[in-house]
Amino acid sequence: MKREFIGRSVPRLEDLPLLTGHGRFARAVSFPGELHMRIVRSPYAHGRLLGIDATRARAAPGCVAVWTSADVAEVPPIEFRPTRVKGLEPYRQHVLAHDLVRYVGEPVAAVFAEDAYRAEDAAERVELHIDPLAPVLDAEASDIEPTLIRKEYGDVEGAFARADTVVELELSIGRHSGVPLETRAAIARHDAARDLLELHCATKRPHANRDVIARMLKRDPASVQLHEGHIGGGFGVRGELYPEDLLACVATLRLGRPVKWIEDRRENLMACNHSREQRHRVRAAIDASGGILAIDDEFFHDQGAYVRTHGARVPDLTAGMLPGPYRVPAYRARGRFRLTNKTPAATYRAPGRYEATFVCERLLDAIAHKVGIDRIEVRRRNLIAKSEMPYKRPMEVLEVETVLDSGDYTGLLDKTLATVGWPALQAELRARRARGEAVGAGIALFVEKSGLGPLDAARTRVDQDGSVEVITGAASLGQGVETVLAQICADALGVDYRNVRVVHGHTDRIARGFGSHASRTTVMTGEATRLAAEKLRAAVLDAAEGLLDLPAEILDIVDGRIVRTDVRAAPLLALGELARGRELSEEAEFRSEHMTYPYGAHVAVVKLDRDTGAVRIERYFVAYDIGCAINPMLVEGQIVGGVAQGIGGALYEEFLYDERGEPLSTTFADYLIPTANEIPPVQVLVTEDAPSPLNGLGVKGAGEAGVNAVGAAIASAIDDALGRPGAVTQLPVTPTRLKELLRK
């Protein structure tokens, strides 16, 4: 395959409507006669719901209906993804609370009115009678543990018995989340003439959501269609099925009018999935030279009030990915998946791994300190060697066996140190510290996972004007899906990427699809697209052979035209001409039983302000091996954006609660998303040293590399600036917490 577009930083195809104000975000999706939904939410973290009086609300101007749990008694609690984990079912969330309320923000009633203001007015007249109960706000204190995630291999007890030294840490990661700039939305309508239920704006896994909605509402899946417009960011939280999505669907069916719901920011911060909050007690058995013999981790995962669509996947990922790029001969993790009276939790970009990398890299720093060797040296001694690839780790992640497919971890570490000039940087920082500055550098290594199976499909077809359509089951959350898939199709077929139109997020265009999540799209949908485009190329050449009476072997497709390769001649035929006489359309699917594992390194240089407790990041560097970068500019964009989110979680963002379980972070004045002032210029090195053997292009995913190791790298840098290895044990390192560290 020629590579004309793959590997080039070509401009995105999706930008034009977004730049000109034509993006179809939820606010712009409207249907005639629509009703507006407003959710009444529990003001108590825990309480018995004694009754709801909606009389005054129903009489409010423009109010059409008010529903409580009795009105949706036939709707079952919301399903989670199929899993072998047992015991989660009793903890699923109903679309409206019926006997107990379990977090502030839990939906208890739904109001439908003629416009959004009237719906809100009416909602304020709904009277809730709730008898408050004591809330549980700490996972360790909770006695509700729906499941215990266990992963174990090797002789852990034996390793600790014969270890020269044991290093033990207690570490915690704060509660924070994706918080996309566009809040959630659901717009449902029912076409009674064709009995079609449409749901707009729940982007991420359209086909899976279609199937769940169909099952929950007892409809034929073909009578449910999901459509995505533009989406203001996903990051794991957007596009899962939430109570509001189901309520909008039920309401349009029952009230006979389209129903529109748009979340406000306060709701978003207390009702959309939270993530990350974990406390770890981890210990490592090591030999005299700092070699890891075993790691044993027990952690408490604060799931919040209910099990949502991800089930127990986040603690599963933490437990499964914690050993990172290191050779860990014996390993045991026990993840205590506990319920509390907080907003339910699920995935946020690099779910489980932001946490795991923080823990693993804190552990490596602690080992170095204990043994008295350099932070770099301890990593070198424990990294899995290139010669050991593919490296099988005898445990499963997401119920898939772990085989690190390719990698040269030491090679990337060397490139990192060379690019940042690590020895010179150390000397410079020593000199600055000697002058009294609190400056330091941190490094963190990580392994990501991407390309989650089981399969993906794509259909490519040539239209009569020569344009090419690629129909996929992917979703676009702003990553550049259309551009990347167009680049792949363009090279596989022999056309310009600008002539390729990529369809995604519409369940009526393709029967199957697995959406966009888990850094899977470029790997899975990309490979399906390549296979379909190659089949289409063969079909085109076959058709040209018949039409031109020339053997296919001497024909090629260049820039959308059939040319001869044996002699210099003008193009013979355009693809559009060929498509006029016959259907040129091919479909392919790509199956993969294993994930593919990209890897990288983060380096942070920080300066601490002893007076204010602020952490100023002076420099940030990410090296990342992606196997094959389809569009390096977009890969860098993913990484830099991820770093910004990681910095948020490391220094600023935290969902806090008071002792009654009242959320304290319900505005952007309290929940602090970093601005341009807090994010330093980020230097990125994208390498392609270890292509994945699992797909034709060698691609690995790009989406989660930037965020993965930020907490770990910044913690290490702060330690260095303080001159106290192991000082940081908790994220985020807010000014208050840094001041405490400075006082110690």
Binding site: L18, G21, G232, G641, T667, F668, T675, N677, G706
Partner: protein, 150 residues
């Protein structure tokens, strides 16, 4: 009540209640509805304004400029403003939700950007939030647009 506003050089008659904000009546993006994120930024009498913090009625008699005024439309397509072109070329947007707000925030800066240090430019752009890009390409694009317009 009926409200007449001047939007992008044309008079528009809108149906609005006194409590409606400018963000309610214009096709802007709402990100927080309390004036922090800047996704709804429009230009009112040459200054960037958070449309969610201004009542629609307060904009009466003022010149409102939205992102829709930036590109010159024709049947051949849209001729993008240098700022829009720079955002595309420098990959300064991903999901695009903050983009109209950032374009409106940056537009009045273009004249004086030459005298601004990078730190001052970052400070000025820190008025708005972006959750996707990490800002560095936005800073680059705004600088590049000012260069292109010289």
């Amino acid at each position: 009540m009926q409200l007449k506003l001047r939007v992008d050089g044309a008079e528009r008659t809108l149906e609005a209640e006194p409590r409606h904000t400018l963000a309610d009546v214009l096709p802007t993006h709402a990100g927080c509805e309390h004036g922090v994120c800047g996704a709804c930024t429009v230009i009112v009498d040459n200054e960037p304004v958070r449309a969610c913090l201004m009542f629609a009625i307060q904009a009466r008699g003022k010149e409102i400029r939205t992102v829709a005024s930036l590109a010159a439309c024709s049947t051949a397509g849209e001729a993008l403003h240098p700022l829009q072109r720079a955002f595309n070329e420098h990959h300064a947007l991903q999901c695009g939700y903050c983009t109209p707000g950032f374009l409106m925030l940056a537009l009045p800066l273009l004249d004086r950007i030459k005298k601004m240090t990078d730190e001052e430019l970052r400070e000025a752009l820190s008025a708005n939030l972006c959750r996707c890009t990490g800002y560095q390409n936005i800073v680059k694009a705004v600088r590049a647009a000012a260069e292109a317009m010289r």
